[in-house]
C-alpha cells in the first residue's frame, strides 16, 4: 500500500497527466483501428456488404495459402528490403565519407545531397515514372542518342522492380548520409592517427578502424530502415501499382489491394496482421543481432 502510494506521488501523477493527451491520441488513432482491423480479420467482412459473421482463422488460412502471397509478395518484400537498405547504406556511407573531408563548396554539396530527403515520395515516384516512360521519358531519349533501342521499363518485372528499388535508394540515401556523417564527425581521432603512424593506408584505416567504430550507428540505421522498407507503399503504388500482373507487389500493396481493390476488408486486415507478425519477428531478430554486434564491437 505504502509502496504503491510512493510510486504514484504528485510528481508521477503530473507525469501521467502530461502523457495522457499523447496516450489518448495513440489509443484513438492507432490502438482502436488495429483492434477493429483485428476483429475484421476473424469475420466475413466485405467492404461493400459487411456481414461480420465470425469465421475464425479462415481468412488467415486463405492468405497463407495464396501462391501470390508466399510466392511473389513475401520474396518481393524481402528483396526490396535488402536491396533498398543495402543500396542506401552503401551510397550513404560513401557520400558521408566524402563529405567528411574538407573541400571547397562542401556545404553546397551537403545541401544538394540532402535535397531528395525533402521531396515527397509520391512526387519523386511520379517524376521517376515519367523519366522511364517508354515514349516520352528522358532515359529512353538518352538511349536513343546512343543509338540504342528504347526499353519498355515498366512492362517487365525486374526492370520495374529495379526502378522502384532505385527510387527508394535515391530518396533514402541522404538520411543514411546525415546519420553516418554525424557519427563520423564524432569518432575519436586517436585510433586513426595511430593507425596512420603505423603505416596503414586509407582503405586499411577505413576498413579496420572507421567501419568498426561506426558499427553501432550503422546497425541502428539498418534496423530502422529495414522495418520501414518492409512497410513500403507509396513508391511502389505510384510507379507500378504492384504490376505488371502483380509481379512487383510488396506486402503493403497486397494488403491494400485485398481490402480496397478487391473490397475484401477481412482478407486485407488478416494480411496486415500477418505482416505485422512477420515484421515483429524480423525486427526482433535484427534487434538481437544489433545488440550482439554492438556488444562484440565494444
Amino acid at each position: 500500500m505504502k509502496g504503491s502510494r510512493r510510486r504514484f506521488g504528485a510528481r508521477e501523477r503530473f507525469m501521467l497527466v502530461l502523457i495522457l493527451p499523447a496516450f489518448a491520441i495513440l489509443v484513438a488513432f492507432q490502438i482502436v483501428p488495429i483492434l477493429i482491423g483485428a476483429n475484421a480479420s476473424f469475420r466475413s467482412w466485405s467492404l461493400f456488404d459487411p456481414q461480420k459473421t465470425f469465421v475464425g482463422l479462415a481468412n488467415y488460412r486463405r492468405i497463407l495459402a495464396d501462391p501470390i502471397f508466399y510466392g511473389t509478395v513475401l520474396p518481393n518484400t524481402l528483396v526490396f528490403m535488402v536491396g533498398s537498405v543495402t543500396g542506401g547504406l552503401v551510397a550513404g556511407l560513401g557520400l558521408a565519407t566524402m563529405l567528411n573531408r574538407k573541400f571547397p563548396g562542401a556545404r553546397l554539396v551537403r545541401v544538394g545531397i540532402l535535397l531528395p530527403l525533402m521531396v515527397p515520395p509520391v512526387v519523386a515516384a511520379i517524376m521517376i515514372t515519367w523519366m522511364f516512360n517508354d515514349q516520352f521519358g528522358v532515359v529512353n531519349a538518352l538511349l536513343g542518342t546512343l543509338g540504342l533501342e528504347p526499353v519498355p521499363w515498366l512492362v517487365y518485372r525486374w526492370t520495374s522492380f529495379a526502378i522502384v528499388v532505385m527510387t527508394d535508394v535515391w530518396l533514402w540515401t541522404p538520411w543514411f548520409t546525415v546519420l553516418i556523417l554525424a557519427a563520423l564527425q564524432s569518432l575519436p581521432l586517436e585510433p586513426h592517427e595511430a593507425a596512420r603512424i603505423d603505416g596503414a593506408g586509407p582503405w586499411q584505416v577505413f576498413r579496420n578502424i572507421t567501419l568498426p567504430l561506426l558499427r553501432p550507428v550503422l546497425m541502428v540505421c539498418i534496423v530502422v530502415r529495414a522495418i520501414d522498407a518492409f512497410r513500403v507503399f507509396d513508391i511502389v503504388w505510384t510507379i507500378t501499382k504492384g504490376g505488371p500482373a502483380r509481379s512487383t507487389e510488396v506486402f503493403s500493396i497486397y494488403a491494400y489491394k485485398q481490402a480496397f481493390v478487391y473490397l475484401n476488408f477481412d482478407l486485407g486486415t488478416a494480411a496486415s496482421l500477418i505482416g505485422a507478425a512477420i515484421i515483429m519477428v524480423v525486427g526482433g531478430v535484427l534487434y538481437k543481432t544489433l545488440s550482439y554486434v554492438v556488444e562484440v564491437s565494444r
Binding site: 467492404l47 459487411p50 515514349q135 519498355p152 500482373a245 481493390v261 473490397l263
Partner: protein
C-alpha cells in the same frame, strides 16, 4: 455540486449541438457536396451544376477524387455513412456494390426521357432506380482522318495490321494503334478485342444477368478460343508486327491518350467522351484531324458490328438529409431535361446526352453525332461493358492481371496462362 454543474454544462451543450443539427436544412442555405472524378465529362456536368446552383442560391462544394481510388474511397464513405458527399459519381459496374446505400430516384422526372438499356440491370436495387445518368459512355475507335480516307479505315484485324504497317513505313506515325491495357484500363485493348472477336469475359456470351451466369456455373470466358486469339493478336501487334508500343501492357488510358494526342499513333480506342479533348488544339496535336469508326472485327465474330453502351451517373447517398435529397434530385433532373445542358455536353466533349429527345434532335441536325451514333449504338450487337455481380472488382482486376501476364510472356504460354486465369476468375465469380 461541482460534478452536477459539469454534467449540466456537458448535457446542455450536447442538447444545443443536437438541436442545431436537427434544424431542417431547408431553413438554411442548402449545400451539396459533390464527389467526382476530374474528367472532361464530369467537368462539363459540374459547369452546369454551378449554373443551377447559382440560380437557386445553393452552395456547391466540389470534391475531386482520383479514378484510381474512387471505388474504394466511395464504398468506404457509403458503408460508414460518412457525410463527405451528397451527390456522387456512379458507374454501371458499381451498381451491385452500392445499390443498398443509395437513395431511390424513381421520382426524378428526367428518367422517363432515358433508354432503359442504360439503367438495367445495374442502377436497380429492389425494384427502384438508384442513379440518374448524365452521359452515355460508349467506346469507339478514333482514327486520324488526315491519314486515312473513309475507304481506307480498317474493318478487320488483318487490315488493322496492314494499314498500320503502311503508315509506319511511310513515316506518318510511330505506331498504328495505342490503347490502355493495365488495370483498370483493359477496355481499350483486351476487352474490346475479345468482344469484337465474338468472345466475352463470362459465359454465356453477352449475358449480364447474374441468375443466368450462376445457372451456367459462373464460367469465365478467358480461356475460350476468341479470348486466346485476341491476346495472341495483341502479342503479335506488340512483339511481331510492332504496330503497338512495347510499353502498352503498362499503359493506362491516359498514357495511350497522350500518345494519340501527340500525333504518334494513327488509331486509338477510347470513350466518345474523349472526343472534345482529342479535338482541343490546346491539348492535342491531332485536333481537327480525327474521326470515328466501329470496333475492328476479329476473325471469329459472327456479326458485323458490336459496341458497348453504358452510362455514367450521379447518385445520392441514402443517409443524406431530406432537404439535400430534394435539392439533389431537382438538380439531377434539371441536368437531363435542360436541352442546352445536354447539347453542350455533346458539343464540348463528345459524350452522348442521355435524353433521347435530344439524341433524336441531334440525329436530325448534327452529321458528326449521326456518324458517332451509327458506329456505336446502332451496331448489330449492343452489350454492357462490364458485369454486375458482387465480386466483379476482384474478377476484373484478376482477369487483367492474367491478360497482361499472357501478353508479356512467351507466346506459346498464352493459352496456358489464360486457362489458369479462367479457373481463378471463375472461382472469384462463384463466391458472389
Amino acid at each position: 455540486m461541482r460534478r452536477r454543474t459539469f454534467l449540466k454544462t456537458v448535457g446542455g451543450g450536447s442538447l444545443a449541438l443536437g438541436a442545431s443539427r436537427a434544424v431542417p436544412a431547408t431553413a438554411q442555405q442548402v449545400e451539396l457536396k459533390v464527389g467526382y472524378m476530374p474528367h472532361p465529362i464530369h467537368e462539363n456536368s459540374i459547369k452546369w451544376m454551378k449554373v443551377w446552383a447559382a440560380e437557386r442560391k445553393v452552395t456547391l462544394t466540389l470534391v475531386p477524387i482520383s479514378y484510381e481510388v474512387y471505388v474504394e474511397k466511395m464504398t468506404a464513405n457509403l458503408t460508414s455513412r460518412g457525410g463527405q458527399y451528397d451527390v456522387i459519381w456512379h458507374n454501371d459496374d458499381w451498381g451491385q456494390l452500392w445499390g443498398r446505400y443509395l437513395e431511390p430516384v424513381d421520382d426524378v422526372p428526367a428518367l422517363k426521357k432515358l433508354s432503359r438499356f442504360i439503367m438495367e440491370p445495374y442502377f436497380q436495387w429492389e425494384g427502384h432506380d438508384t442513379a440518374v445518368p448524365f452521359v452515355e459512355t460508349i467506346g469507339t475507335f478514333f482514327y486520324r482522318a488526315d491519314l486515312l480516307k473513309d475507304t481506307e479505315v480498317p474493318r478487320t484485324w488483318d487490315e488493322l495490321i496492314k494499314t498500320s504497317q503502311r503508315l509506319q513505313k511511310d513515316g506518318k506515325v510511330k505506331w498504328g494503334f495505342v490503347g490502355g491495357m493495365k488495370y483498370p484500363h483493359g477496355w481499350f485493348t483486351f476487352f474490346w478485342s475479345i468482344w469484337a472477336n465474338g468472345g466475352d469475359l463470362m459465359l454465356p456470351v453477352h449475358e449480364r444477368r447474374n441468375a443466368e451466369l450462376a445457372k451456367n456455373g459462373w464460367k469465365s470466358g478467358l480461356a475460350q478460343p476468341e479470348a486466346v486469339q485476341a491476346v495472341e493478336f495483341w502479342w503479335d501487334n506488340i512483339h511481331t508486327h510492332k504496330i503497338a508500343p512495347p510499353g502498352q501492357p503498362g499503359y493506362s488510358r491516359d498514357d495511350a491518350n497522350a500518345i494519340f494526342m501527340a500525333g504518334d499513333s494513327a488509331m486509338t480506342m477510347a470513350d466518345t467522351t474523349l472526343y472534345g479533348k482529342f479535338n482541343d488544339p490546346k491539348q492535342s496535336k491531332v485536333a481537327g484531324k480525327i474521326s470515328v469508326t466501329q470496333f475492328i472485327i476479329g476473325p471469329r465474330a459472327k456479326f458485323k458490328s458490336i459496341a458497348w453502351r453504358d452510362p455514367w451517373a450521379w447518385a445520392i447517398p441514402i443517409h443524406v438529409d431530406a432537404a439535400k435529397k430534394k435539392a439533389a434530385k431537382e438538380l439531377l433532373s434539371w441536368l437531363n431535361l435542360t436541352h442546352d445542358v445536354q447539347l453542350d455536353l455533346w458539343k464540348a466533349t463528345g459524350g452522348f446526352p442521355p435524353n433521347e429527345d435530344v439524341q433524336r434532335e441531334l440525329v436530325k441536325t448534327d452529321p458528326v453525332f449521326r456518324k458517332f451514333r451509327a458506329v456505336t449504338v446502332e451496331s448489330e450487337k449492343l452489350i454492357h461493358g462490364a458485369f454486375y455481380f458482387a465480386r466483379w472488382p476482384e474478377f476484373f482486376a484478376t482477369a487483367i492481371d492474367y491478360l497482361v501476364r499472357a501478353v508479356t510472356g512467351p507466346r506459346e504460354n498464352i493459352k496456358a496462362t489464360l486457362e489458369e486465369g479462367a479457373k481463378h476468375t471463375s472461382e472469384i465469380a462463384a463466391r458472389t
